[in-house]
Amino acid sequence: MSSQLPILQVIIPLISAPLCLIISRPKLVWLFTLIASTISFIISIILIHQVMQSGTIIYSLGDWEAPIGIEYRIDYLNAYLLLIVTGISSIILLSAHTSITAELSHNKYVLFYVLFLLCLSGMLGIIATGDAFNVFVFLEIASLSSYSLIALGKDRRALTAALRYLLVGTLGATFILIGIGLMYMMTGTLNMHDLSERLPNLSESRTLIIAFSFFTVGVCLKLALFPLHWWLPNAYAYAPSVVSAFLAATATKVAIYILLRFIFTVFGIEFSFSILPLQKILLALGLVGILTASTIAIYQNNVKQLFAYSSISQIAYIILALGMNNSTGLVAALLHLFNHALMKGALFLALSAVMYRVGSTQLTDFSGLGKSMPWTMAAIVIGGLSLIGIPLTVGFISKWYMLIASLENNLWPVTVLILLGSILTGIYVWRIVETAYFTTNKTGLNHIKEAPFSLLLPTWLLILANLYFGINPRFTITITKLTAQSLGAMP
């Protein structure tokens, strides 16, 4: 069976979705979803092991060889991303049952898990596939289910946020479709590996440049890169807490994966960075994104919205690191993919605990929580420190690599601006800490208790992961370096 693992990885959550609809007992469905996600997680661990031992795994669907049929091609990059997504989703699902009981109406529990599974398998499908059009199909599975998941939020603003996300997301997906169409037109193939062999011969073609730009703009819409980010804050802020945690930790990572895959594997570094001024564009957008989004975050009064803006700025960090165009920068970007998933997963889960007890995530409602919910607030503090990049947390590791990368390229101003970004991050994290620990609750709501164990456990699992990979980053650094090598980054 071990040769079937690449497909089982995606198919198990996928087939569980309709099964859940048939089972239709909320608690049973929850367990079932959790098990499906955990199996995927275990498979992804085995896969990354296999890749390390025997190199790229190729799996032809329906036994049709690559350009004729669709193939799965698992290398370091896919295996790494699969590990992140399945790991985060399994941990988040631990808390899902408690959290959605508080936030959703009774008759929607089952449908929630069906949509969650569809979203998860859509993302896994995007990551695992080696076929350009297949990316589009699974992108739509993931997107359509995430629009509905967001719209499940209690606040009516969730509806408009979801519709805005839908319009932007579909526009982005259609741009991607145009890009894929142009690539196909020039080469006659849809397979990524095949494309990467045929595209370099065409690097002079203007049609190819247009294909590249449409594709990139489409993906950037999806990953909320700074000027194209306006759909994200409300979508994360008004979605049910579990959904915010899941999407914040994984969805944008998947979009970045698509970008990485096409820049490095399909178009090749030479085309992306030498023929096009991609490096300058990414650097500029990254820097502007970090500073603007962090500044906006400081002025937010809803903590969920604050962290949503913080997500935008962290994505900009990743883009900035990519724009360095050296292998240290690439390692930094890949590290930050993993680390940001850990931080944001933990922070949004902690917020779901606050939501569960307090019923709101307005900053003013945080006053006094340092005493009444010590464990939850401690998690937010550690997560926040990680976000700033204090040593002993994962945030430090990736920021450190970013700084080295910028120094290697002699980009002093960038180094300074990265540090400035960290200071801005410090300010908005401090605002939460200040409210929670140093103001007393005037309304005298003393009945607020610590969050239930089922919410604290997953939060602290992620927080401990934050600390563990911050103190002992050997595993992540080995993997990301191998990944960077396999992508052929320049030394």
Binding site: I11, L14, A17, P18, D63, I70, I141
Partner: protein, 302 residues
Amino acid sequence: MLLNIYSLLSACFFVLMDAVDVAFTEAAVGVGVSTILLLSTLTITGSFEKNKRIKPILTFVIVIISGFLLIYGTLQMPPFGSSDAPIHQHVATYYIEESYTETGIPNIVTSVLANYRGYDTLGELFVIFAAGIGVITLLDVNTNIKNLSMFKNDLSKSLIQNHILRVISKMLIPFILLFALYVQFHGDFGPGGGFQGGVIFASAFILYTMLFGLKASQKLISQSWLEFFSALGVLLYTCIGMIPLFTGKSFLNYKVLAQDPLQGQHLGVLIVELGVGITVFSIILLIFIAFTKQVSIIGEGK
């Protein structure tokens, strides 16, 4: 609505371009399903736009820029209709030359859709499944049907009163069903297949609902059964795909389904198309019912 005329026109265009399968789908979807959905939404929301556009200049700039980019790109595209463009050389030639001997299916589009790129089609099925689940999550369809017992919206009232329409439509329904089945199972040879078959089959039920009201059609096939069927179709497809896994072959390899690989593929495609048909039928109907219930709630509110 101009939009459905537009859809019809583009369907005609697809026929001209020799894309019969696509034309068929666009005709069924663009002209049929999307029109019904749009009309029922407009019934609820009102069909007049209150104020004019908000930021025309900025938009115009964006649109013009992307338009120019595309034009810039076209100038080096291979000319339209030429047979030596790279697109027709690589994989396409293989499909045209080998697909009949390898799969035994004359309609190349079907053989590529269900066989070579069967995984895409599975994905497509899950997309529509996700949309269906999304719609029933959003529009709370579990509204008790008894609350709607008084329900007769304007549309069905006028239709019930019109005897000629009623008799003719009633006569039409069996033929639509028959045609749907023909399309469903004839996809191997001519244009058609599970998706189109499912849509047409659903349209027969939609017509029935329009004539006799929601309550009558819910008696015929209930909400929970539709949900069950939509899951069943998807499961059918995935399970067929998983059978080869146990014999050491890859996912969606139909050759193992029978002794003779060709027959196995025939069987595989047939079952897979059936799965597509079942899910598409039930999801389209679910979406339609969800929308109609909303319309009827508005109707009662008045």
